[in-house]
Amino acid sequence: MSQARLQLPPQVAHGQVVRARLLIEHPMDTGYLQDLAGKPVPRNVIADLTCEYGGRQVFRVEPSSGISGNPFFEFFFRAGETGELRVSWVDERGAKGELRQLLRVQPPSSRPPA
C-alpha cells in the first residue's frame, strides 16, 4: 500500500488562507525505464488527484508522466469550518489511494472584537 503525507497548520483562523503540502508515494512510471532486472516498466502514473474540504473541491490535478516519482504538491485554500480534508487519487491501473486529515479552525466568534 502506498504511503502519503499531508501537512496542515495545527490551528488556523476562520477565513485564513491555508497552505497544504501533500506528498504521495507513487513511482510515476513513464514507461521509458527498466527495473533492476532490466525489464521495461510499463507506464503508470497518477491519473487524477483531488482534495475536498467542507463538501467542496479545493484542489484537483491530472499529473502526467512529466511529474516526478513520489510527487509533492503544495496548494492554498481558504479555511471555513473545522472539517476533514479528503485527498484521493487513482492511477492509470486503477489503484486508488486516500488520505483524510482534520483541519481545526478557530470559530470567528472566539476572535477578540475589533
Binding site: 503525507r5 501537512q7 506528498l23 508515494e25 513511482p27 510515476m28 533492476l36 516519482g69 513520489n70 509533492f72
Partner: protein, 262 residues
Amino acid sequence: MRRLLAGALLLALGLSWGLAAAQQRHISLEQVRSGLSYAGGDVRALQADEFANPAQLWLQRGEQRWSEPVGRAGKSCMDCHGAVKDSMRRVAARLPALDRQSGQLFILEDRIRQCRQRHQQGPELAFESDDLLSLSLYVSQASAGVPLQPAADGPALPHVLAGERLFMQRRGQLNLACTHCHDQNFGRRFYTDPLSQGQPNGYPVYRLEWQKVGSLERRLRSCFVGVRAEPLPWGSTQMRQLALYLGWRGQGLPVEVPAVRK
C-alpha cells in the same frame, strides 16, 4: 636512499601493526566530508525539509512495519526490541560487522533479513524491496548524528583489507578504480557532476535518479555500471567488504538519514 629505507621501515612496521599502519588514509579524518557537501542547493533543501523529504514516506512505512506482527512466530520487531530510538541507537554506525554465529560479514539489511527468518519465521524480505529498505531506513534513523565507527580490527581486519583491495582495483572498460574518482579527484567535476568522496553515511538514501530509496549496495552497483564493469552478484561478501572499508574510510562522519542525493 634514505627515503627508500624509511619506506621499507614503514612497510615493515605496517605489516606488523596490521591495520593501523598498513592502511594509510588517502583522505585524512579531518578531510572526510559527507556527500551532502557536494550536492546542489535544491537537493540540500529537499533533504532538510522534514515534511517534503521523500524518504519520509519510507520512514513512515518503516515505523508501521516495525510494530506489525509477522510470520509464524506472530511477533513484531517491537515485541523483542522495543522502540528503535533506544534499542537501535548506534546500530547503523557500527555496521557492517561480523555475525557471531555464522561468521559472515553482515550489513544492516542482512541482519533484518535474518531476524525476519529466524525469529519472526516470516516470509523472506527481498533485497531492495520497499519493506526491507523501509525497515533499514527506520532503524538507521535511530543512529542519526552518531559518528560512523565500524569495528575494523581483529577478525574484521581481513575484510577491511579485502575491501581496500576492491576499492583500489581497476575494473571495467573504463579501467578505473574507486580511488581514482573518490580519493584523487573528489570536489572536481566529472562532466557537470561534482565528484564526492563516496562516503556511506547517508544510506539507505533517497536518490532522485532512482525516484526511490535504495541501499548502499545498489549505489555501489551503479558505480560498477558507470565504469562499465560487471557488477558483483547481489548479496556478495565482496560488496560487504567494500562497504566495511567505506565505513572505516569515512570514520567519524555522522549518520545522516534520511538523506537525499541526486
